[in-house]
Amino acid sequence: MVSCKHIFILLSLFLLSTVTAGSAAENIAIRAGNILTISGGVIENGIILVEDGKIKALGQEVVVPDGARVIDAKDKYVAPGLVDAQSRLYVIDGELNESRAVAPELDILDAVDPFIKERQEVLAQGVTAVCVAPGNRGLLGGLGAVLKLRGAKTAKEMVLRTNVAVKGAIGISRSNQSSSLTRLENYSSIREALLETQTYMQQKRKYEQELAEYEKKKAEKKEQAKSNDQQADKGDSASRGAKDKPTRPAKPGTNPTYEILARVLGKEIPLQIEAHRVDDILNALRLADEFDLCLILDKCTEGYKIADQIARRKVPVIVGPVSTSFLDMPALEYRNHDTRNAAILSKKGVKVALGVAGRDGASSKFIALAAATAVANGMDRQAALRAITLTPAEIFGVANRIGSLEVGKDADMVIFRRHPLDAFAQVEMVLIEGKIVYERK
């Protein structure tokens, strides 16, 4: 009977692929019992109309155009695809970090393996997008990206947005040892890098001015030369032309490290700093104040102790792991970990996203469980659901595409049999951009 099952699975996969191929063009209308549009409350007995991968319309009175494929989910919940903000899915083991301490120009996309097997499993739990970022072994580890769980052969086809943030880390223990000195060192060397970037930018500006001047001078010289030629009486024009020739200013070499950090300083790319202990978090905040950065706090293990300050700064926080059980062996910085962290922060009004921060890629499938755990420890149900859909999308600047069910957004949605945060909320169907990528048999 197992062999039958096996055959069946293959078959269903085959069918699935055909379905995906078919449903590419056609419109889909979902009759849903409960539509959890995160952004605009719950719509009961509504209809979602999907047209070429986008949400065309949703609401209680939406006319279903004939020819549209109608999916019946009357007694079910429809929610936007879940997002794991601290995922390792697709990333090759041991490729999370470069040995160099400050390397913000590294791109996690280069460490992505499109041929992994886990994708389907994670998809089957309703996760449609993950944010992957470099690890915490580098002070400035590199650029993160948001990937969609499409079946794709290259990273380019999966990626939703690149350069979503530069991942940094302060006060990470090495081989379960940490000292205030290393903390200081981490903080100051990140700061140094930013200062150097500023000087680098100044030099660049300086060069541009000089270049402009030089061009001007050259133009003048040309004029002079011309005029000299016109009044061509004496033969000393050459000697005059020869003297004080403008020299072209030397172009400073472009440095990718500083180029990226410049964009960070320009608030174009946020800085995502992983900090666990209170002092580290405070250091991160200080950095943000000094250079007026767009900061994202990662992990933020002891955030609950200074929730007010974080709230006052209006800094978004990615809390995770909700429970240290998701880690392989909790390191020193998790000593004061508290499962109520997310709840406390969000109650204080901090913008909280949740991540699994699991031990491997496949553990991204636990994102709903993580949220549920947060709820059990006092987080508001709505907030928790938002923290694994819209909030991460906002934090990583993809809220215009995913994170909630709104007209015009990508049709990345999941049909649950029960509320997504229920332990036994069976995922019935997953759509990514209007294509059915998973369907429970």
Partner: protein
């Protein structure tokens, strides 16, 4: 209390039981905090009661007197002067039982439990390393776990004696149920070291057999504490908890169990599903590894298959490897991936109690059993439902602060 009598009491006549109980109640009375609490009776009115032995009771009540449950059911006569807890929207279940953990050790837990100088240390007692006032113990009450089995480490083929204790709830003395609840063996590859015997799997198994044979031939008189303990193991007085995960490890364990007719429990058993029926026909119970440590679907589905094959399964947290509060999470994940929900609940309570041999006192809400209860905000198999209150021996040892 001396180690031996409590150690054997499990399998001895009820007389010894009374002895034990008196000892225990005494030890409990010692705490001035609950001197009063013990005498007065407590009544819990809850939306749902999960007795574990029977079906769930809606809008029922549990009556507790002197730290024992005296009655469970709907509309029972309430004894006068009883303190009544009205919790119509809450659900009550027996205190959770953790089948295998390393709680209450120093921060470097995994250094504390590995006595790797010698590979064979059955005479070690984990209880000697247990600190009831350690931070993780005091925190632990939030998780709804009331009873834990403390075990030594994984690196010794014959690691030492395990203990079963109730969480003290801030009291100095842990409610010790059984000082030596059995000997832990480790047949996993963790037990191999490059610079100590054994270095190989055949060598590991050879050594275990060697020790058991020695114990079999051990005659009283000449003092050998190790053989002393192992003799009781070989005679089946003392159960063994054999840690093994891969198929070959489990097969090796089964072989040794058969050869020496051991009274055994298998701990870990990650790949147990592939030989589940062998475990079933020998009815060897399992204390399954924390499912939260797995992430691949094919691994998450295993425990369900094992239980389906008719093996009795309980859960463990390996704390501090995983949080005590995720004992329930592990059970829920197991249920989510195919374990029958009611088996998941029993695995946390009554089945665990039976596997650990403490079912006479714990694991269900029945008259005569210890009043170790957990009050949850919702369905015990929903992660979203949090622990509201924990009661041990009729005393409220944890209560969620109300905001």
């Amino acid at each position: 209390m001396s180690g031996s009598d409590t150690g054997t009491s499990r399998r001895l006549c009820p007389k010894a039981w009374w002895a034990l109980l008196t000892i225990l109640s005494l030890s409990l009375c010692a705490g001035p905090a609950m001197a009063g609490a013990d005498r007065q009776s407590l009544v819990i009115k809850a939306g749902v009661i999960w007795p574990m032995t029977g079906s769930a009771i809606t809008n029922g009540l549990v009556i507790i007197e002197n730290g024992k449950i005296t009655a469970v059911g709907t509309n029972l006569p309430i004894p006068e002067g009883a303190k009544i807890l009205e919790m119509p929207d809450k659900q009550v279940m027996p205190g959770l039982i953790d089948g295998h953990c390393h709680l209450g050790l120093s921060l470097a837990a995994f250094a504390e439990i590995e006595e790797t100088v010698s590979a064979v240390t059955p005479d070690m007692q984990i209880l000697d390393a247990f600190n009831p006032l350690a931070s993780d113990v005091t925190k632990a009450l939030r998780s709804g776990v009331t009873t834990v089995l403390l075990a030594p480490g994984y690196k010794n083929p014959i690691a030492g004696q395990m203990a079963i204790v109730k969480l003290p709830g801030g009291k100095k003395d842990a409610g010790i149920i059984n000082r030596s609840a059995g000997v832990k063996f480790s047949l996993g590859n963790e037990a191999l070291m490059s610079d100590r015997r054994p270095t190989s799997r055949p060598g590991l198994l050879a050594q275990v057999r060697e020790e058991l044979n020695k114990a079999g031939q051990y005659q009283e008189g000449k003092f050998d504490p190790r053989a002393e303990i192992l003799k009781r193991v070989v005679q089946g007085q003392l159960p063994v908890h054999i840690y093994c995960n891969a198929v070959d490890e489990i097969l090796a364990a089964i072989k040794i169990i058969d050869e020496y007719k051991l009274k055994a429990v298998i701990v870990g058993a990650r790949e147990g599903d592939e030989i589940a029926e062998m475990l079933a026909e020998r009815n060897i119970p399992l204390i399954y590894m924390p499912t939260i440590l797995a992430s691949q679907d094919k691994d998450l589905k295993r425990v369900g298959r094992i239980a389906a094959a008719g093996v009795k399964v309980a859960f463990a947290s390996y704390a501090p490897r995983t949080n005590l509060s995720d004992l329930r999470t592990s059970a829920i994940i197991a249920a989510k991936y195919g374990l029958a929900p009611e088996l998941a609940l029993k695995g946390l309570t009554i089945n665990a109690a039976e596997i650990l041999g403490i079912a006479q006192r714990l694991g269900s809400i029945e008259p005569g059993k210890d009043a170790d209860l957990v009050i949850l905000s919702g369905d015990p198999l929903e992660l979203t439902s949090g622990v509201e209150m924990v009661i041990i021996d009729g005393n409220i040892v944890y209560q969620k602060e109300q905001k």
